[in-house]
Amino acid sequence: MVRLGMKNLFQERGRLLISIGGVAAALVLVLLLEGVFVGVSQDLVTYPERAGADVWVMQEGVSNMHMASSVLPSSLRGGVEAVPGVRDATPILYVSSPVEAGERRWFSYIVGVRPDAAAGGPWAMARGTAIPGPGEAVIPDVLARQGGVDLGNTVTVLGRQFRVVGLSMDTFSMVNSITFLAYDELEQLLEAPGAASYFLVRAEAEAAPDALATRIQQAVPGVHVMTREAFVASDLDMSRQMGVDLIQIMTWIGSVVGALVVGLTMYTATVRRAREYGIAKALGAKNRHLLAVVALQALVVVLLGLGTAVAVAYLARALIPALAPEIALDYPVGSLLRVSVVAVGIAALAALLPAYRIARVEPGVVFKE
């Protein structure tokens, strides 16, 4: 029966390719959406991941950066740096605001950095200066390209114009970008003299971040201290929570579309071969034999569709940085497993319709011409 199922399936190559293509399209949709979401989430935590801090110090009650606000007195710096194991503590100012370049606007993290900042500035430069002075801004190179600005041109941040003096790399995505201004200037713009948003703590070589965070928490009152890993995880968690419902909806839509494509294709093939199933029944095949054939066919189609979808998704991940650098794609193992489970579910659903048809095929069709 396995042989019959496979030969029937591969005999009609056109229909097989349509089925595989349909499943692949539906699953690619699910994979890409989740991949983009995970990639975007990953982009959102690029700054806390790459700003150079081992430990983050923030206002009590705050535990992330994305869509958050933290205000601390900058005078706490001495107290933080006095904790054993702290190499240095760099204050940054941070606010979320659009950046305007030409006719376009981008959502951006606006980060104020001091001229002597040991951490918190750009980690990779395409061109120009990394640390901006008064009236200056360092913007992402992709943003500059998209906005048609270059070094020496101006951008508008918080209602004021800044001259672009540096183009940073890996600081731009489809949902976020990072713009660096001079600390003192941002302090004035925010009308928050003597304030810091976060302290970026670098640890001495021998100091473990976990233990160091605990010591700072105990030594400095009124702050919340997190290791970089914990801070990044908290931000990721926050961004993912915001997209889970959307992902679930798209997964359902993709699953239903996939099941319909495979189910209808297989139903059509079953109807076309109804006579042959009748012959098989006349010769002694039971319904369960034929249902196994259909289920196997559905599973093979779906697995081939899944393989195609994964290949397309990874191809897209390889090509997209060159074609659309603002889009980040990432496929964690969990999402691949989830899509695989969805695929098996699609196969089961898709087999139901033809199974219903097969159960009703009469073996007596063998006597009809």
Binding site: M1, R3, L283, G284, E369
Partner: protein, 290 residues
């Protein structure tokens, strides 16, 4: 007594429809066929031959009556057990060959064996032997679409024999074959009954098959009876005047209560257009016995 018969039917009846539209396709048929016997069931179109064969093979449930195959009553078996009987106890041969189009000749022959636990491995050698014996060893890898009609029917015969059933049921096995190929297939069926002691039950129109049968049964209007001693009952085609054997004629029409038989579709159509013309012309008012 039942054990001596490969197939036995008692009071077999199949009724379709109800009320005014009731049709008794098979009417109280009792039949016993011995081991090694080749029995031909003949009768006009619509006489119930195929319905009878379907019930004997467990493909159709009778309205009433019993069918025994090798002593087992199949009419009381559940739907889940009937396929086993069909796979193990009965070999089917059909007019339309009914090979599975995606499988090669050898795979088609092996198909019924795959329905029996452990059957395929044991049947490989037998499939090769059957294909060899039926002159198909060079065609074993061919798909049905690449086989001639005669080759397809020989594959179907091999398929019917693969599980060593004691009963072979054949529905018009020569119906789609030319006379030479049809004769070859009939000789194979004859040998199966004579040499292997299998019971072969054939439903057919073809009068050329009569010489090979051990027994000929006549089915008409759902009722079965032994064939009359006369080999043929000649009547006249009212359109062209040609002699037609009433026992085997498949083209007929009833007009004013009398049945007329025809040599061809063309004559039948011409008669149906103006029946009174032909009966008047020949001075015949429907003399052919019904």
């Amino acid at each position: 007594m039942r054990e001596k018969h490969t197939v036995q039917a008692i009071g077999l009846t199949k009724v379709y429809g109800s009320g005014l539209t009731t049709v008794r396709a098979v009417d109280n048929v009792t039949l016993e066929v011995r081991e090694g016997e080749l029995v031909l069931i003949m009768g006009p179109s619509g006489s119930g031959k195929t319905t009878l064969l379907s019930m004997l093979g467990g493909l159709l449930r009778p309205t009433s009556g019993q069918v025994f195959i090798n002593g087992v009553e199949i009419t009381t078996l559940s739907e889940s057990r009937l396929p086993d009987i069909r796979a193990r106890e009965v070999g089917f041969i059909f007019q339309a060959f009914n090979l599975l189009s995606s499988l090669s000749a050898q795979e088609n022959v092996l198909f019924p064996a795959s329905l029996v636990p452990g059957g395929t491995r044991a049947a490989q050698e037998r499939a090769s032997e059957l294909l060899e014996r039926l002159g198909l060893s060079q065609r074993r890898r061919y798909l049905p679409r690449n086989l001639s009609g005669g080759e397809k029917q020989r594959v179907a015969v091999a398929r019917a024999l693969i599980n060593n059933p004691r009963l072979i049921l054949a529905d018009e096995p020569t119906g789609n074959l030319d006379s030479k190929t049809g004769h070859e297939v009939m000789m194979i069926l004859h040998d199966i009954a004579r040499d292997e002691g299998r019971t072969v039950l054939i439903v057919a129109h073809d009068p050329r098959l009569e010489d090979m049968a051990d027994r000929i049964l006549w089915l008409e209007d759902g009722k079965l009876r032994d064939r009359k001693e006369e080999a043929h009952l000649w009547v006249q085609d009212p359109v062209c005047g040609m002699k037609v054997d009433q026992w085997t004629a498949t083209l007929f029409a009833t007009y004013q209560g009398a049945r007329q038989f025809f040599c061809s579709q063309r004559c039948l159509e011409r008669f149906q257009e103006h029946p009174e013309t032909y009966l008047t012309k020949r001075g015949d008012t429907g003399a052919n016995p019904k």
